[in-house]
Assembly symmetry: C2
Homo-oligomer: 124 residues x 2
């Protein structure tokens, strides 16, 4: 796939982490797909299926008073036809997580359909 | 997407876990995509990029004398256009992992392009 595809995926991925980092619920809602099934695998937790339940989980996370700062590093995009994914590392005060973010194109815009983050051992 | 798409995805996912469970390196090699970039996120480890490096990691895992038995449960398929994913739980003797497996169609066959597994808390 083209560099333009990868750049667009990385930009959508950045929008996701910006929404997380600034606790912007409207932006978080906008970045998640509306016309596709969505799933979210928060660290250590069972999968959450469906847009409504996934967004509820983000309301809870982004409303927490002790919400940690988050930085996305080492992002690598892989684009397919009308979907793609970004593999990256999430740097939090307590350590790093490895993350997979899967995107689809909806109305010409890349939106997220799946997020999984899990702990990295021995890397801080 | 159709039920047939989902069934084919679940069947490809099963082939992946069968290859894992029987330590069948030929089957593991056949299930990973050849014409797409591939990534693998083993639990706690940094991402491994590229078919050769990913398959090397599986040789190591499947050759280990203390390789654990693995069972895939609660598999849910989500199909897009020429790609799709399966979210499932991997049950091992020591506990459960949450897993994401992303597939693409290559020559009419679903092959895996990405695997991430990470620990589940409090679920055994």
């Amino acid at each position: 796939m083209t560099d333009a595809f990868s750049a667009a995926l990385l930009s959508a991925n950045e929008a996701f982490y910006d929404a997380f980092d600034t606790a912007d619920l409207d932006a978080m809602s906008a970045i998640w797909a509306s016309n596709h099934a969505v799933v979210c695998l928060h660290p250590g937790a069972l999968p959450i299926f469906g847009r409504e339940a996934v967004l509820r989980s983000w309301v809870e996370i982004l409303s927490a008073p002790q919400r940690p700062a988050i930085e996305c590093v080492d992002a690598q995009a892989i684009a397919f036809h009308q979907s793609g994914m970004v593999i990256c590392r999430e740097v939090l005060p307590g350590g790093s997580l490895a993350a997979t973010n899967v995107f689809v194109r909806e109305g010409g815009v890349w939106r997220i359909v799946h997020h999984q983050a899990g702990p990295l051992s021995g890397l801080r």
